[in-house]
Structures are given as structure tokens and as C-alpha cells.
Symmetry: C2
Subunit: 376 residues, 2 copies
């Protein structure tokens, strides 16, 4: 299977991660047919670039698509794809599992990633599961407390002092030299793993719109490729409209999209409560712009106030998500979608990961003797 650069079109026979032009490469499109199977890996066996190492699976994927009443006021049929119930409680596990399957097969003994949040925990967990060593490079601002949920799995956590954006590219370069397989946010195997979200949605409904919290752009590219491959395989009739959602305080992709540019520019002084999508210079930004232009898709940015309100509304549906994961619902109000449209919003990660920033509800104090009146 060849890798191809979605921007300059150059093909690569070697398993590179990025093209000479600087853009992330991706696998050529797969076509195939579905099978009967318990896991999404088995049901869509034709569509993966490496054989999934099922003996090491933690049961990632196959997450619930939950019907929500939150679209009723707006007249749309809303579904929530709950990725917070993955093994490390974010969508990252799908991509990590597939990239790890490749690393194992290719003979690597050590893997790595650059992340301070969901992806760090995911790579740390799956490396241990696969019996590989992990080097987790985190930014200097990452707190010890936050890193507990990463180091607990056994991965080596390295806090790197210096420009975090440069670290991404340095890690790929050094990794290649040192034989450490870095599976960063737009690693081509990782992107393939995210296709499962599209496959599972298509098994249940034919969505008109899919709202995708977007930071590096890897998740957006994976879901896009999944739907495109289903379409090219004749398994779905129509492509849904994909909408990238960013936080206003860090929206390099939406800004470039609105200005009609082909390339993103670094977003200076990013500031948002949605930390998990606060990448000021997303490595897959140009690839996402290209997809939006080619398919007539779009980008919406939302304020922190709207994000918090959406987070609260989702909790009222029984789903507690991190702020980044609420952006899709925040975007819903900004979009003027046709009545009756079927809309899926991707809930990317668990609210337990950002418990500190969660709203503190009121607590009533009550002596046991007064319980009856407290309950009335």
C-alpha cells in the first residue's frame, strides 16, 4: 500500500510520516466490503493498512451512538458518538492501537508521542499492553498532577523545555534516527484508526452532518477518509457534510478557511478553556483545509462561554465531557442546519480528565435528623 501526500500528490513507497514538502502523508484509499464480526477491526478488515494485532486489543472502538434531545429545539435529529468510553477514555485509542500494531510488526522496541493529554495517556497505556517501551514527550507547562494519568501506565514521561511546536518535528526526525517510532497526532496509521468512527456511524445511520472538534486535524482527516472510502466502496450513497469545530481562542484552521487561504498560519496567543484542541499550528491544518475545499465542507469556531454552556447541556443528557468535546454542540447553535437533518457530534474525551475546570455545583448541608425536610 502506497502513501501519498494529500497536498503535493507525491507518492511514497517507504513508510514515511511526512512528505518532503512538509505535509503529512496518508495511505491511498482502501475499498472493500464489510464482514460479520464483534469488533470494528474485524467488520472492516479490508480497510486497515496493517493487520490489527487483536490479541493486544483493549476493546477500543465500537462506542455507543447516543440519541440526544439537544437537537429538538433546532429541529435536527442529533446523535452523540461517545468516544469517552474507550479504554483510556478518549478517541485516541483507536489510532494508537493501529499505529502500535504497525510498530510491533515493524520490529520497533520503543515508541513515542508528543502530547500532554489524551494521546499521551493512550500511547503510554498501549505501549505497556504491547510490551513496548514508551517515551512520552510533554510540554514544560504540563502539571505533575495531570501527568499521573500518563505515567501510571509505565511510559517514560519526559518534560521538554523549549518550543512545543518544534518538538513535534524534532521528535519525528530524531525518532527515525534512533529507532523510536513516534505516533504523533497525524501519524498515518493513527489517522487510519479513526476511520472506525465513520464506519460505526454508517452502520447505524446515514448522517447529513458530522461535527468534529478539531485541533491537529488528525481526527477530522480520519473520519473524512472513512466516509470517503465507504462511498467509493459503494457502501453508502452520500457523503455527509463534515464540519470542523474550533475554539475561537485558537482557530487557525477556521481563520484560514474564512480568509480563503490554502495554508494555515500560526495562531498567536492561543487562549481557550478547550485545552485539548488548543494547537496553534496544527500539523494537519493544510490537509484539513484541502478536504474542506474539495468537498464543500466547512469550519465553525465557538466561544469559551458557548463551550461551557454546551458542556453543561451534555451533562444534562448524562454525558460528562471535557470542554473540547462540547464544541460540536456549541457549534450546533451557530449553524443553520435544515430541519430534520441527521447530525452526529463527536464526544472526544471524558470530563474526568478535566475535572478541575468542571463547574462546581451547589451542595446542600443537612443534619440526619432533618432529612425529611431536606428531601421535600
Amino acid at each position: 500500500m502506497k502513501l501519498v501526500c494529500p497536498i503535493c500528490g507525491k507518492t511514497h513507497d517507504e513508510p514515511v510520516q511526512r512528505c518532503e514538502c512538509g505535509e503529512p502523508v496518508e495511505f491511498e484509499r482502501f475499498t472493500g466490503e464489510p464482514y460479520i464480526g464483534k469488533s470494528v477491526w474485524e467488520r472492516f478488515w479490508d480497510f486497515w493498512p496493517v493487520e490489527p494485532a487483536l490479541e493486544f486489543s483493549l476493546g477500543e472502538g465500537d462506542t455507543p451512538l447516543v440519541k440526544s434531545g439537544l437537537g429538538e429545539e433546532l429541529g435536527v435529529k442529533l446523535y452523540l458518538k461517545n468516544e469517552t468510553v474507550n479504554p483510556t477514555w478518549s478517541f485516541k485509542d483507536r489510532g494508537t492501537f493501529l499505529a502500535m500494531s504497525h510498530a510491533l510488526k515493524a520490529g520497533y522496541k520503543t515508541v513515542g508521542t508528543v502530547s500532554t493529554g489524551n494521546m499521551a495517556a493512550s500511547v503510554s497505556a498501549y505501549a505497556s499492553r504491547f510490551g513496548l517501551k514508551a517515551k512520552i514527550l510533554v510540554s514544560e507547562s504540563a502539571s505533575d498532577e495531570k501527568l499521573k494519568a500518563v505515567s501510571v501506565y509505565g511510559g517514560e514521561v519526559i518534560r521538554v523545555h523549549g518550543d512545543y511546536g518544534r518538538l513535534y518535528f524534532e521528535s519525528l526526525k530524531l525518532g527515525e534516527r534512533l529507532g523510536v517510532y513516534f505516533m504523533n497526532s497525524d501519524n498515518p496509521f493513527r489517522i487510519e484508526g479513526y476511520k472506525g468512527i465513520a464506519f460505526e456511524i454508517a452502520e447505524e445511520i446515514s448522517p447529513d452532518y458530522v461535527l468534529i472538534p478539531t485541533s491537529s486535524g488528525g481526527l477530522f482527516r480520519g473520519i473524512a477518509k472513512g466516509f470517503i472510502e465507504l462511498h467509493e466502496s459503494g457502501l453508502i450513497d452520500d457523503l455527509p457534510t463534515l464540519i470542523a469545530v474550533q475554539a475561537e481562542g485558537c482557530s487557525p484552521i477556521c481563520r484560514a478557511f474564512k480568509e480563503g487561504k490554502a495554508k494555515i498560519e500560526r495562531f498567536e496567543n492561543p487562549k481557550t478553556i478547550a485545552k485539548a484542541i488548543a494547537n496553534p499550528y496544527p500539523p494537519s491544518g493544510n490537509a484539513v483545509l484541502r478536504l474542506m475545499r474539495d468537498f464543500g465542507w466547512s469550519c465553525v469556531s465557538v466561544s469559551d462561554g458557548e463551550i461551557l454552556e454546551a458542556q453543561r447541556k451534555l451533562a444534562g443528557e448524562g454525558l460528562f465531557v471535557q470542554p473540547a468535546s462540547a464544541t460540536g454542540i456549541a457549534a450546533l447553535e451557530r449553524l443553520d442546519l435544515p430541519r430534520g437533518a441527521k447530525v452526529v457530534s463527536i464526544l472526544t474525551g471524558s470530563g474526568l480528565k478535566t475535572l478541575k475546570s468542571a463547574p462546581q455545583g451547589g451542595i446542600k448541608e443537612c443534619p440526619l435528623e432533618m432529612l425529611e425536610s431536606c428531601l421535600r
Copy 2:
């Protein structure tokens, strides 16, 4: 469907929660056959005491059964039932969903529970999802921080000052008078919901042993009833041996079991890191004792040191659990199980819920310019 007291045998036509003798009642045994369906609720449709309100489901249940290498040294085939990937990240959601389905159907407007942890979050979440009000009664020692993950869903949190054990029974009494449906740890509908764990295990393997972290005893009773009903329905050939696991620092059931007593006694000065199973006077304790005696099952208690070591081992398998959830693996080393035995350990709740008590791994500091040597 009648309710019956597992201790005195009295049957009840009314939907009471406890027998006059003080023990928790349970539904008579169901028999039936399995169907094709996406959710465990649909596949085992014959086995529920109330029609599951699927339109309000959050996708609870249908959790992965993960093959683990941790049994290899001991010569057993170990499987981990990962309940940490439920909608509020613990097994409680299965019982809450079914009890909530009953409350809705029975016309209640308000539900309640007594808990400071997993069950509190679960009831708060599902009450919002079902459009019901929730009164969550927590102990005076519950910290504001911990209660964030409960109040975020919208349930009213009431911190009750007084004896926590008495609160359990007071809540049931007052709830009946005030029309608040309390779904505490051994509510009969809640117990029925836990049967799904047994059903799903039986769909994949025929276990010889099932290790169950045990506090109130509700989970143990539910899993037991599930396997017994499968057996009586002719769907499995043999009952597995169920083993209740408690923390040494709070093991009222194991103590009574070892002493050959029919009734548990309050465990004075409980002290364990496994807070989620630290109930000193478990309301289903006698019912669990009875099951163990009737079926030749048993009880094992483990030390905090063993629990922490087991938590670390599980993280090395990619599964980060709360201390209480690691007790099954801790027990494995104490038991002398026959070689080749198929063993399932239930992982009850996510480690993110007890992040503060998680071990702090070492963090290496590294300037970006030195990255190469840091990675070597």
C-alpha cells in the same frame, strides 16, 4: 413478577425494597432464551423485571472482555471484564439504567441514592437523562472536589451529617413516604441490571472462576443471579465459582464467612485505600453469605499493599482502575487455582475517579536541545 426474600423466603407482591425481616428482597428467577440484538438489554430481553427504556439508554453494558497475560505465571487464563468504559465509567450504570426504567414507568418524578462515589455520579447522570430530579445523599466526609463529578450532571447533592449506615435505611423509609424512589446499592432492579455482566461473559467464554470486588454485595448478587438464571435456562452447562473479594481493612463478609456465621457484623474502624468497597456493614452482606454457602463459593480479603501492586500490574496491561477494582487481581495470587482454569476479574471503575491516590511516576526534565540524548 414476585419479589422474594433470599433469607427468610417470604414473597412480596408489592414492589418493596426490603423484607420485614430487614433483608433485601430480590426478583424471582427468570428463565428465557437469547435473541439477536445490538445491546445486552435486547439480547437477554426475557430476563429483565421491567422493560428497559432503551430510548434513554446511554449505551451502558456491552463492555470488553480483555484477555490478560497477568495469569500466565499462575498458570490460569485470565480475562478482565472492563466496566470502566460504561457511560459514567463504572458498573453502576447497568443497575441505574434498569432502576431508572422502573422509576419512570412507575410514575416517580424524583429519584435518590446514598453514595459518595460511582453510584452517586451514575444516578445523577441517568436522572438527568431520563428527565427526573435526583437527590444524592452523600456522607459528611465527601470532599467538594470529589462531588464535582456528581453535581455536574445536575442532581441535587445533599451532604448529610450523621451516621452514614443509618442514612441508608432512613432514605428508603423517607423515600417511600415522600414519593422519592431511592435506588441504593441493593435495590432489586439495580441487582437485575448487573446480571448483564454474567450474560456477556457467558456469550464469550465459560469461566471457571469469577472474582468480584465486594462492598455492599449488590454486584456479587447480580452476577450470581445472572449465571444461575442462565444455568436454569439451560444456556450454560456449569455454574462458575464466584469469589467475593474484600479489602482486609474492611472485610465484614469475609470475616463472617471464615467464622462460619450466617450474619455479618459491623466492621469497626474500617481502613483501606479501596474506598469504593469500604462499606463496614454491607446491606446485602447476609444475602452474599447465603449464596456462598449454598453454592460452595468463597471470599478472599487482600491487603492495601497487594491492592496497590495489582493496580500497578493492571496499568501495565493498559487498564487504569480505581484501587477497589484491582482487588480481584490481588486475590488471584492468594488463591491456589487449578492450572488452565479460566478466570474473570471484574474491573469495576475507572482510575480517573481516584487520580489523587494514583502513584506518581517519575518525570524526566529535558531541554529541547538535549532531546537526542534524552531519547537514547
